[in-house]
Amino acid sequence: MSLKQQLPTNDTARLDPIRVQAYARDSGWNLIGKTAQDRSAIYSHPDAETWQITVPLSKQLPDFPQRMTEVVSTLADKEKAAAGELLQRLLLPESDILRFSDCGASSANGIISLNHGLEMLAGARRTILAAACGVVKPDRTYHPRMSLAEAEGFLAACKLGQTERGSFVLTIACPLQVPRAQSSFLPFARDVTTALMSALNWLSTTVSTADVQSPIAWEGLGEHVTANLCDGLLDMMPADEEGELVISATYSNAIPVADLSVPRVVRLPGRTFPLIAQIAERLRPSTTPRIQSLLGFVETLDGRPNEFGLPEGPVALRLSTSDGEIRARIYLPHMDHALAAEAYLKNQPVTLDGTLVRSGRFYEITSYSTLMIFAQKHDQVVERRQVRAAKMGKGRKSVMKRRPGKKG
């Protein structure tokens, strides 16, 4: 027993002895006895008698947190895992755990920008939902709305764990107990996690052997690979070009993974993301980009002075969409650039009509019209309504006046 990693006792105090024992049994530990007055259960591992844990059976025991610390440390030692990670896992219901790690120089200390953190969360959510939709409708390469009830229900049951150290790591638990629509031997969560990891494995293999400069080609699309899944990955594109997105799955020991070809870790280097974007575009049904009304805040103004010394050029917007917040770039001539600057300084949202096209991690607004500051637009709308109401009032009066006349 090393106890090299000390665990917070306020966390070990929350562990459920039944859950810990079930985990130990599923990991191959055998019950060999109990201590006096059945205070604790003693388990040993068949690998060697020196592997032994004493699980306290009641939270009322005054040294329960300390004994659980020993148990978790020993279980982790046996699995050559981090005790902190195992503790977090044991605090969650029986689940498959997915980890999304941004590994790069800028995230080496475990900290990333708030914006990138939000993008990672959105990307992880989208990726898992895409995999869940893929399990429900396996024949599709694109889910227009990703609003399948079973997939959404599963996503609602997923839990966001504490972030972990060693780069920036998002931890998401996919509980095995989520009920599924069709009877199946395996829990829905297991189908989702294995589908996700298999799809990622196909993507990783395909993009690692492709030429970045050439259009990507493949023979036999990987199962469960969808444009939505690729979109989710693009949201999580590493902050550093030299970095990589590492996605790993820890499958619950309660149900062993029968298919040994399902990977546990998939690495996607930052340089491969343009290829993932290509795959996403190929999988998305070709539709004419449609003009839509957009609303969002100006995030950065990157314009440069034109020949008259007036700034114009790219502007980054954070748009609110039905899929959550997205970042989009737009090129603005100097008049609209000035309007965007005004909105930025006043911290007011802008509205516009435009065509939104995905471009790697970001979106581009390729053509647009009627860029306005929302407050001004609101004022205009109110004004227009008032004018219309006034006109309608006049009209009503005239109708009222006319009707008797018509009848008469």
């Binding site: 917070p8 205070r39 004493t54 025991l61 005054p62 020993e70």
Partner: protein
Amino acid sequence: MGLTLPLSSNDVESELSYAYLHAIAAAADCGCTVAGRIPDGMGVDAWIHVGDHFPALGYRKFTIEVQLKATATPMTLVRNRFAYSIPIEQYDKLRMTGGESTTLLVVLQLPALRAAWCRSSPRSLAIQQAAYWLSLYGAPDSPNTTTQTVYIPKSNRFTPEGLKALFPTIVGGGKIHYVP
């Protein structure tokens, strides 16, 4: 500017008590881990990890918790027991009952003269003088508010053999009760 010592006398006393504990545990074929800040808040400075074969039980692993103390002030001997004063909060933690663990208070008695605490020669390394152990399990509640004097039997010298002699009682679920 005068020469400043990197460690205070209290720090040196503490380090020597850890060294003493490690030496005794190792000689008794046990592992020993120094506790950090969180377990110390629970009244634990170190853990002794025991793994041994016991008749009727087979191989068993368990842990003994240790609260370490050191003093260079000679402890008063009262009816073959050393009187030693500890803070009341630690007394209350050490006397707690109902748990699975066994917690020992180990007090290292050092010579009054600091230069005599640790001596080395080509033949030996010696920490002077001796440590004594005490279990406060089930000790009575104290009306005191700051400290409580406890009495450590002179026979409880902390030795490898003495430590090993405790194992059968602990593994059998027995408790080492304090006799006030």
